[in-house]
């Protein structure tokens, strides 16, 4: 399952090392390490290979964007990182724990404690108030009611929705809904914040506003991994991983990515 080192386009040798030591727990710095991650779907005999061996190493406090054409496997990778799905092959280490091969209940615990997931379609409970939606992860963490409400209110205040806590999703704008989802993702202080096209359903002004929220979180030290189609949104990140056909095509620091955009003529879009 180990791929040939020189083929993997990684930014640093440290990262290269982290992903090649198969079966060994990575150093403490690395919040995410995947080694040869594969995910295949059996579509009635025809095998769809959504991920064909992905090696990624992400440090604590990194702000990473994942890009790539439609169908390249971005969501599949996010779902694996988010423990919503399990790989067919490969290793996935989260915070020093080997997640691949974990039992269902352990995965649920990891989802609850280590991961905050923000979806393109918000995925809020339609009949529950913003407060109740944000409380949900705490409910499954077994936090008592009073503390739950306190922490959920704090999380909502943090995304500037302190005055909307009793509103239901259909009484909120798209941007506000996504803020509720972000508050929900953050309420249990997860190790990583994952976002799969969080602005995909929002207009550009609202997208900017939501990106501002992620920017703020990242600058406070929150590890953020975000899938996006938009180069100018990816430009907020300090590192960009590009997927193609279920493989990593490039993995660049911000400076390199900026240079790349320049060279492909996309700079005007980013405005840097």
């Amino acid at each position: 399952m180990t791929s040939t080192t020189d083929e993997i386009p990684l930014s640093t040798t440290a990262e290269r090392q982290a992903v090649t030591n198969g079966g060994v727990a990575p150093e403490k710095d690395w919040v995410i390490v995947t080694r040869g991650l594969k995910r295949e779907y059996d579509m009635g005999g025809e095998i769809v290979r959504a991920l064909r061996g992905v090696d990624v190493a992400i440090r604590r406090n990194e702000y990473v964007a994942i890009m790539g054409p439609s169908g390249s496997g971005k969501s599949t990778l996010m779902n694996l990182i988010g423990c919503l799905d399990t790989p067919n092959a490969g290793e996935y280490w989260l915070n020093g724990m080997l997640v691949s091969g974990m039992h269902e209940d352990e995965l649920a615990r990891v989802r609850n404690k280590e991961i905050g997931f923000v979806f393109q379609t918000f995925n809020l409970l339609p009949r529950a108030s913003a407060l109740h939606n944000v409380e949900l992860p705490l409910v499954y963490a077994g936090v008592p009611g009073d503390e739950r409400r306190k922490r959920a209110t704090e999380a909502l205040t943090r995304v500037k929705l302190g005055d909307r806590i009793h509103h239901r999703p259909n009484e909120l704008s798209g941007g506000q809904r996504q803020r509720v989802a972000i508050a929900r993702a953050l309420v249990n202080t997860p190790a990583i914040l994952l976002a799969d096209e969080p602005t995909g359903n929002l207009d550009s002004a609202t997208s900017e506003e939501i990106m501002g929220v992620f920017e703020g979180l990242a600058s406070e030290g929150q590890t953020v991994i975000m899938v996006t189609h938009e180069p100018d949104i990816a430009a907020h990140a300090r590192r960009v991983i590009v997927l193609k056909d279920g493989m990593i095509e490039s993995d660049d620091r911000r400076e390199n990515f900026r240079a790349k955009i320049h060279s492909t003529g996309g700079a005007s879009k980013i405005g840097i």
Binding site: L84, L136, Y140, N188
Partner: protein, 413 residues
């Protein structure tokens, strides 16, 4: 997720879908309603039998020597019945024998009864329950007069044409009149009314106040018992302990008189409240079994409805389940959520059913002679049953929900 959270969630869900919840409850409600009503009526009947009927009709420490049982469940076979009617009758002439046999202080009375036409000039002729009695009949039956008096021993011995009448007889035959001292004609023979019994009420809707009681030696006995036999000889032992002794002695003298061999079984019967109540127990079992079948079907149907509705709910709420799983809900959290919801639903159904069942039982006891008594254990049973039906019918849908794959569930809108 703690249990209390699951209950709160279930209540919120039920509140949101009021109409659907109502229909879901219906089966359980109806099942429990009939269950409570049936149990209440069976309980009412048996407590009535034990407390009122046995005491009123048969008396305490009392047995009645009869040709065959009156209050039991009848002959078990055609052959037994034929054997019963071939038995020798009990005659008034057996009385001295029985009197000598029973312990000192016992009360003894003959009982002889027939429905006979009575008349006065103030009312149209009508049937009364005519009794020809003697001895300590009134004392054993605990009958007392509301006005007038009972017979004296002398009047009883002489067979004076006098009568003590029940409350209804007095009101019917002597409207707005004082019956004391007036004549009541029974089968054409005039009897002077000397007393009116206290109101006795009714047993299973049969009034105990339609009686006209005359001394055995009066002309009455020729109509109640034309052959010289009596319905029975009632014996009341002075204490419960002496009851068995009295029954044994009477058995001995009767067998002696009838020259029975030791191998022969008794050709008479000594009826006690216990023997009548044993029959009641049998009746109770039959009624409970038959009466529970209907509610049981209701509960099963209710359970199936809940299962069906829960399956629909699981399908409708797949996306919600996906969201919950993505936020860290474990298989058992989802399982519990749906189980608690099903159980809460059907427990609510059961509670509504209990209330309606009590109302139904009270209604039946008001509209019919059947008495009703709500047993606390039946309420506990019905509540438990409701919960169990909910849990059982919720298991399959809840398992389906809990086993959903988070990604697949999230994708479903």
């Amino acid at each position: 997720m703690p249990f209390i959270e699951a209950v709160r969630l279930a209540l919120a869900q039920i509140r949101v879908q009021k109409l659907k919840s109502f229909f879901t409850l219906l089966g359980v409600t109806i099942g429990v309603m009939f269950l409570i009503a049936v149990i209440s009526i069976v309980q009412g009947m048996s407590s009535y039998m034990e407390n009122d009927f046995a005491a009123k009709m048969l008396g305490v420490n009392t047995f009645t020597l009869r040709r065959f049982p009156w209050f039991g469940d009848g002959a078990q076979s055609e052959a037994e019945w034929r054997q019963w009617v071939r038995r020798p009758r009990i005659y008034h002439s057996d009385l001295p024998l029985v009197t000598r046999a029973v312990p000192l202080g016992s009360r003894i009375a003959v009982e002889s009864q027939e429905f006979l036409i009575a008349a006065t000039q103030w009312a149209r002729p009508k049937q009364v329950e005519a009794h020809a009695v003697d001895g300590d009949y009134f004392a054993i039956k605990k009958y007392d007069v509301a006005s007038g008096r009972l017979f004296t021993n002398q009047e009883a011995d002489l067979g004076a044409p006098i009568v003590v009448i029940g409350d209804e007889v007095a009101k019917y035959f002597f409207p707005n009149l004082n019956p004391i001292g007036r004549d009541l004609r029974i089968k054409g023979i005039p009897y002077r009314v000397i007393g009116i019994l206290e109101k006795q009420g009714s047993v299973f809707g049969l009034s105990l106040d339609r009686v006209a009681i005359a001394p055995y030696n009066s002309p009455m006995h020729r109509f109640t018992n034309p052959r010289g036999d009596v319905d029975g000889i009632m014996v009341q032992a002075p204490t419960p302990n002496e009851m068995d002794e009295a029954m044994e002695s009477v058995r001995e003298v009767m067998r002696g008189k009838r020259n029975m061999r030791p191998s022969e079984s008794d050709n008479f019967f000594m009826e006690t409240s216990a023997s009548a109540l044993a029959f009641m127990d049998k009746l109770k079992t039959i009624m409970t079994t038959a009466g529970t079948a209907f509610p049981a079907i209701g509960l099963i149907v209710g359970g199936l409805v809940i299962m069906n509705i829960m399956l629909v709910a699981v399908a409708e709420r797949t996306h919600e389940i996906g969201i919950r799983k993505s936020l860290g809900a474990r298989r058992r959290d989802i399982l519990r959520q749906f189980l608690v919801e099903a159980a809460t639903l059907s427990t609510m159904g059961a509670i509504v059913g209990i209330i309606l069942g009590i109302v139904l039982a009270k209604g039946i006891s008001m509209a019919t002679p059947l008495p009703a008594k709500v047993a606390p254990w039946s309420i506990v049973l019905a509540t438990l049953l409701g919960t169990v039906v909910g849990v059982v019918s919720g298991v399959y849908p809840a398992k389906r929900a809990a086993g959903l794959d988070p990604i697949a569930a999230l994708r479903k809108e």
